[in-house]
């Protein structure tokens, strides 16, 4: 099963490679990973999407906790939480598809952040399903390039699942 794990870590040199090394060294897979500073600049938050059975996920969270620089590990999948991801999609539609691209962007509450002679760049934010849906719909219109941020997640206020 898929799990979204959120970590608070010391914002120090080498921390990312300790975490990445843990996953590669023990054969766990990382589907996505994102890192950023928190309000406290000495602490970073990482969101890792990984998968495995219960025993593997238990090992992953324990192993992460064991790393000296990791302050806190939360398996978001066990909590009611909000997940978001952002994608930038550069589409090069044929003349007759241009209107459709813009219409799709609007339906998905996307924004055109850049447009040129031949391409539009559309920004969409949402959960995984939404991102995948718009990618599917835009594919026939000619996607030239596309970049995803990886997932970030935050727990909802005070309710446990």
């Amino acid at each position: 099963m898929r799990h979204t794990i959120s970590l608070l870590v010391e914002n120090k040199f080498g921390v990312l490679s300790r975490i990445a090394g843990l996953f590669s060294g023990r054969g766990y897979n990382i589907e996505s990973l994102s890192v950023g500073e928190t309000i406290d600049p000495q602490i970073s938050v990482m969101t890792i999407v990984t998968s495995g059975d219960d025993q593997i996920i238990e090992q992953i969270t324990k192993q992460l906790n064991k790393l000296i620089d990791v302050i806190k590990v939360v398996d978001m999948t066990e909590l009611d939480h909000v997940e978001r991801e952002m994608v930038l999609i550069k589409v090069a539609p044929r003349q007759e598809d241009k209107a459709e691209v813009l219409r799709l962007a609007e339906i998905f509450r996307g924004r055109v952040v850049d447009s040129g002679q031949k391409t539009y760049t559309i920004e969409v934010t949402g959960d995984e399903k939404k991102i995948e849906a718009i990618v599917e719909l835009l594919k026939p219109m000619g996607i030239k390039e596309f970049v995803r941020t990886g997932k970030i997640a935050i727990a909802r206020e005070g309710i446990k699942k």
């Binding site: 010391e10 080498g14 490679s17 060294g25 025993q55 090992q59």
Partner: protein, 576 residues
């Protein structure tokens, strides 16, 4: 008063009570070596290879319970430590390795003798540091010692750029607090009570003791538990010595080369009390067939050890000594069960297994049997020696035939299985215990991996003894080839084995050779009498194998025995 980084380092070592460090010099650590030159309190022992330095520090740590310290130069000096660090890491041994590094402004430039040792050692250290500012030095040293010895111990590496050793700062010795590192020492009381009730109810319990018992100093509490509840104790390789090998409740080692009765007991048990051990594959054999009837209580300081390989009914995270203290108290004051008859039946059953297949070998008057040498070493040392081993058959025979009664008397590379460990480790152990008899039980292959340390032993007048069980083979490899590869002895014959007597003499040590069983005792007696480094070359029966043996991938009660030419299950394939 301001001090240089090198001086701050030595001052910090003094604060930590360090008397011996094992090391090897080179360009970027010359300032540190210069500061050590006229220092009276911290002595550097010059080894002949950096791997030797780290193993010696490791042996020192295992024998003394203190943190071992090594100091090497950058680049090749640092990379030569990796095997030693990984060895310590797998066996949870507290160690600090200081590696020199090129100056901070050169880092990343492929400078002369630059190696990214922090990157290289990351997966085999508990933690590691690159110091960029001399002001952080003393705090980092203090943190490193704390990390190395607390919680589940392990090696910590500190990379010291040359300019940091020259720059000056005030010496401070600050309080440290690592907010993201808080090991759990006290076990959960409710869980411990549950465990006590489970123990009270069980009819066929077995204790499996591992290296964690020794690391936490919990041998007394373990013995109290076993004796009070009348539960037999088997030990992992790392656990040997945690419970007296001569005790009537001792079943010796379990696992791949464990005793028949230990493996039978585990497979027949209704309860396993696993203490400070981590269910390594050499212990469990085929995991799905391991202890099929048993509930499992698992006590370990490292949460990741629990439920990693086997299902656990009662997990208790905590320090072994403290958990056992509480468990014993609960058993005596709250549970107050009398076992009497129930236990008698179980112990009788185990005794039957013990009678059925005791730990023996075929004696000979013509050729020296390796087991005989080890029995003689045990007898003549009165069981009161520190034994180190190399890796291979020599290691397993030692585990099987030497009775370890006290903790920290067997120093062996269990997790990594490092050939070349035993001799430098014996040197380290002799520094920790100058008056003890220290013996490396070696193979002819392994001893050649760090044989240069003869110089270190001789120059320091160390009375370390090395008993080479010489079979002219990489014996354990040969054994697998014989049993599982149709006797195709691919590159396991050591055609040229040096004359170990001459090698010893060339270094200024003493060498003896024995080719007949009758010579074994006189050689050992003479060697133990001499207060010098001694190599003993025992030419043993090269055909001898380690039995019993559980083929890789089989359940641990599917054992092969000496007389049994046929494999128990012919289709078993060797999986290493």
């Amino acid at each position: 008063m301001k001090m240089s980084g090198a001086e701050i380092l030595i001052e910090s070592l003094k604060k930590e009570g360090v008397k011996h460090i094992f090391g090897y010099p080179g360009g970027v650590v010359l300032n540190i070596f210069d500061s050590l030159y006229d220092n009276k309190e911290v002595q550097l022992i010059l080894t002949r290879h950096e791997q030797g330095a780290v193993h010696a520090a490791d042996g020192y740590a295992r024998a003394s319970g203190k943190v071992g310290v090594a100091l090497v130069t950058s680049g090749p000096g640092a990379t030569n430590t990796v095997t030693g660090i990984a060895t310590a890491s797998m066996d949870s041994i507290p160690l600090i390795v200081f590696s020199g590094q090129v100056s901070t402004m050169l880092i990343g430039n492929d400078a002369f003798q630059e190696a990214d040792i922090v990157g290289i050692s990351r997966p085999c250290t508990k933690y590691n540091y690159l110091i960029k500012d001399v002001k952080d030095l003393s705090r980092i040293v203090k943190e490193a010692f704390y990390l190395a010895r607390s919680g589940r111990p392990g090696p910590v590496l500190i990379d010291l750029p040359k300019d940091v050793t020259v720059s000056k700062a005030e010496f401070t010795w600050p309080e440290i607090d690592i907010r993201s590192y808080k090991p759990t020492y006290e076990g959960n009381k409710w869980m411990i009570t549950q465990a006590a009730h489970l123990i009270a109810k069980s009819k066929k319990p077995v204790i499996i003791a591992g290296g964690g018992v020794i690391l936490s100093g919990g041998s007394k509490e373990l013995r109290e538990l076993a004796e009070y509840t009348e539960i037999p104790v088997t030990m992992t390789l790392m656990g040997l010595g945690s419970f007296p090998g001569t005790h009537t409740l001792s079943l010796g080692m379990l696992g791949m080369h464990g005793t028949y009765y230990a493996n039978k007991a585990v497979q027949g048990a209704d309860l396993l009390i696993a203490i400070g051990m981590r269910f390594d594959d050499r212990v469990t054999g085929k995991i799905d067939a391991f202890a099929p009837h048993a509930k499992i209580i698992h006590i370990d300081i490292d949460p990741t050890s629990i439920r990693k390989n086997v299902r656990v009914d009662i997990p208790i995270v905590g320090d072994v000594k403290r958990v056992l203290t509480v468990l014993n108290k609960v058993l005596k004051e709250e549970v107050k069960e009398q076992w009497g008859e129930v236990r008698k039946a179980w112990l009788r059953q185990i005794n039957d297994w013990r009678q059925e297949r005791p730990m023996t070998y075929t004696h000979s008057d013509e050729v020296i049997k390796p087991q005989f040498v080890i029995e003689k070493i045990y007898e003549l040392s009165k069981g009161d020696a520190i034994i180190t081993t190399e890796v291979g058959q020599n290691q397993m025979w030692t585990a099987q035939f030497y009775k370890f009664d006290k903790p920290r008397t067997l120093l062996t590379s269990g997790g990594l299985g490092t050939m070349g460990y035993g001799f430098p480790a014996a040197i380290g152990a002799q520094f920790a215990h100058p008056n003890k008899l220290v013996i490396d039980i070696a193979g002819d292959g392994s001893i050649q991996m760090n044989i240069q340390e003869l110089a270190t032993a001789v120059i320091n007048k160390l009375p370390v003894k090395v008993a080479i069980l010489n079979n002219h083979y990489l014996g354990m490899v040969r054994q697998w080839q014989e049993l599982f590869f149709n006797e195709r002895y691919s590159y396991s014959h050591l055609d040229v084995v040096p004359d170990f007597v001459k090698v010893a003499e060339a270094y200024g040590a003493v060498g003896f050779k024995a080719t007949k069983p009758s010579e074994v005792e006189p050689v050992l007696k003479e060697a133990f009498k001499i207060k010098k480094t001694v190599f003993m070359d025992f030419i043993i029966d090269w055909k001898e194998k380690v039995y019993p043996m559980v083929p890789a991938g089989a359940a641990i009660d599917q054992m092969m025995f000496e007389e049994q030419k046929e494999k128990p299950e012919k289709k078993l394939k060797a999986v290493k």
